[in-house]
């Protein structure tokens, strides 16, 4: 990931802006990227130190220093360097330095240590040319490794990689992420919250007036003040956020050596245009579609529709229903179809339902999870619908009638 001195940013008041590579700036970035790739192409076999030096000679204006440094970093990260000598440099050093120490200690007051004599002595023992021995003495140092493979990137690909790395580099200094999500189906939302859990991040969820939800992500310690220790985990969320579709994002940062508090905003999209067109809600899961098309359900007057509603219960996580069932004159009832793998998930739903008294839920639970409908207290406005192969439409309608009538 890039450091702040490799990222093209602008600061205005308490905001940080990533300078877009557009128009002439993009043309220039492509030129520089192509120069860098060119230098690497012609440097195969050169030491890392020499490659870096060669790259440092690339002509550029002072105002382009960050861009050049960042492009070089991304390009070198994508290159392969390998040790130039097959000789064991550490073992060579041991031989040379112990011999030198021995000879120096034995010198009389007027003696002089001869480097050439030491190399000649040791190389004879090791059956090497003295020049080979001297050249291999520090061949295991990082800067001595040789370039064996240039990055498999064209100029435009290098610039694109730089742009992604810049965003990651900024988020590395993030203390908190704020995401406004709207119109996203339950499968993708669940996948996103699973990522938060996997990365041991915490979140708060609030409804937005204009619709949708605001998810604020940080870590356990963040309650005591902004912490950049979660920056890497927040940066690693970028693919999960991109998978959500179009999301308005903001990151609170501690930027630069002064750890200045800044806000950075961007629009995450899965396509380059930034438009949500083409991103459609995933189709209903097969079991739910089957239910919605059954005569018993159609005849009941209830309508099943995908929902983007989220219910957060602090300490328990977020409940992401699959669909909402509506009928004129009845309360809305949310349905969630559970998988086959976790009984705990069912008990957690029971707790959710108890802590969300104003909402009505039916949890569709496969019988192989071996839970009883009775674990849900009667006074709670929720039902566990246990089913063997597929949920029973007639029974579901009865449950909907009972819950819907509570309005």
């Amino acid at each position: 990931m890039l450091s702040p001195d490799q990222i093209r940013v602008r600061r205005r008041a308490d905001r940080l802006f990533l300078q877009p590579l557009e128009g002439a700036a993009r043309t220039r970035a492509l030129e520089l990227a192509s120069d860098i790739v060119g230098v690497l192409e012609t440097s195969l076999g050169a030491s890392e130190e020499d490659v870096r030096q060669e790259l440092s000679f690339l002509p550029h204006a002072a105002s382009e220093a960050k861009l050049v440094a960042g492009l070089i970093k991304v390009a070198l990260d994508a290159s392969d360097f390998e040790l130039g000598s097959e000789l064991d440099a550490a073992s060579l050093r041991q031989n040379v330095f112990s011999r030198a120490s021995e000879v120096r200690a034995s010198l009389e007051d007027s003696g002089i240590l001869s480097r050439e004599a030491i190399f000649a002595d040791v190389s004879r023992e090791l059956e090497l040319e003295p020049s080979v021995l001297e050249a291999a003495l520090f061949s295991d140092l990082k800067g001595a490794a040789e370039l064996t493979k240039r990055p498999d990137l064209s100029g435009p690909a290098l610039v694109a990689a730089y742009e992604v790395a810049s965003l990651q580099g900024i988020l590395l200094r993030a203390t908190e992420l704020i995401l406004d999500i709207e119109g996203i189906d339950s499968v993708r939302v669940r996948a996103f919250f699973r990522q938060l859990k996997f990365r041991e991040l915490l979140f708060s969820l609030e409804d937005l007036e204009q619709g949708g939800h605001r998810v604020t992500v940080s870590g356990p310690l963040s309650v005591f003040g902004p912490k950049t220790r979660y920056g890497l985990r927040l940066a690693l969320l970028i693919p999960a956020i991109a998978a959500l579709g179009v999301v308005k994002c903001a990151a609170l940062l501690r930027w630069g050596t002064e750890k200045r508090a800044l806000r950075f905003e961007w629009l995450s999209t899965t396509n380059e245009s930034g438009s949500s067109a083409g991103i459609e809600l995933a189709p209903l899961r097969a079991e739910l579609e089957q239910l919605s098309l059954s005569p018993a359900f159609i005849g009941s007057g209830w309508v099943m529709a995908p929902t983007e509603r989220l219910f957060s219960v602090p300490g328990l996580g977020v409940c992401v229903p699959d669909v909402v069932c509506r009928r004129a004159g009845s309360a809305e009832v949310y349905l969630e179809l559970l998988g086959y793998w976790s009984r705990d998930a069912v008990f957690r739903r029971v707790e959710w339902a108890q802590k969300l008294p104003d909402s009505r839920f039916i949890f569709l639970v496969p019988s192989r999870l071996r839970v009883s409908e009775a674990i849900l207290p009667e006074h709670i406005e929720a039902r566990l619908h246990i089913f063997k192969a597929t949920p029973n439409a007639r029974r579901l309608v009865q449950e909907l009638e009972a819950l819907g009538a509570c309005a």
């Binding site: 120490s101 030491i118 708060s204």
Partner: protein, 466 residues
Amino acid sequence: MAKLRDVNVTVQFAGGTLRVLGVQRGLDLPGLWDEREGCLRVPAFEYAPLLRQIRRLGLTCVDEVRAYEELNLSLHEARAARPFQTESVAAWLESQARGVIVLPTGSGKSYVALLAMLEKQRSTLVVAPTLDLVRQWHQTLSSQFRVPIGLLGGGEHDVKPITVTTYDSAYLHMERYGNRFGLVVFDECHHLPGESYAEAARMCIAPFRLGLTATLERADGREVELESLLGRVVYSQNIVDLAGAYLAPYDTERLVVELDELERASYEAARATYINFVRQQSINLGSPRGFTEFIQRASRSEAGQKALRAYREQRALAFAPAAKLRSLGELLFKHRRDRTIVFTEDNRTAYRISREFLVPIITHQTKLKERSEILTGFEAGRYHALVTSKVLNEGVDVPSANVAVVVSGSGSVMEHVQRLGRILRQQGEKRARLYELVSAKTSETNTSERRREHAAYQRRHSTEGP
């Protein structure tokens, strides 16, 4: 309404914090209410005060936090402790087994930690700044307690009731293991008050805490934070107090060298470019942020970048002019049968010295196996000298070292005292000698003056060379 004593409180360790479940907002307990999980959240290092307060309020508490053990440790090679070691541990115990002990390098701080561990007999985490020190602690604890010792860091991930780790690994992993230790020892604890490392101390529940250091002062003055992280300074002795009795007697000598004609001309030209830019930009280099400001402004213009290159050039010339290397050659010859450590400010000069004088080198790039070979060889007399930049500044035990040559260094008093400390461990009739090579009429003269502002350098044995 339920009476307080009917309230069942559960305390859990969660990501370096304590999650308190079963309480309502507004109860008189430490910590903050966390809306995200609907619970009270308390910093892990307030574990003991939290439990005390829960008890004081008469609440029933289920403690799911504590995962450390009571041990049954004994020393395999017990030796009579030195008086100041016994006194320091007594002072620490009197302070509820919390606090910082300041003792000079080579006086036996590790043994103080062993005594503290014997007193408390709890799972212990030892945190040290470098992998060399981690290796050294691992050896000491293994040989003294004869129990398996865990290692965390440097590619190892093996947590045991007694574990050694680096500050970096402690920062990374404390959120997972912060409830596994009842005693935590921070070696070279002046590192702890950094923004990140301090979090390691806060994410750990250990009620017993010991900080060890030879030099408490930090350039940024943040050593005051140690009191909240570990406790107050409970005991302190300096080099001058212990030299002769418990540390080797020593002399220091400053050798001033001249730049040759060509070097002088290059130095003056580069310095003029650098200083002119600083003046043009009205940067006050004497202010705490002066140098950062210089770096920031230098990146914005061609002239700035030229000034930055000039700054580096004049610095490099002052660090390693030909005359310094000639003096070093003479010193290596003079002390060819002693054990000499050569210190530099930068790796580049260290590698140059290693290549030119054929002495082994230890830098951050030196692998653990080679470091061990060099240090063992140095102790055994296979090597009479070694060169390093900063990695041997602290803690690493090289008892036979009796000569130090500081070719270049920063203006830090702490660094200079630590470097002196490397040669002071008592061994037979040893008398230690530290040489400091300084380039005349360069910025290094002031740097040298700054780093010598310590009692250890204000003694009668301190002399000026030509």
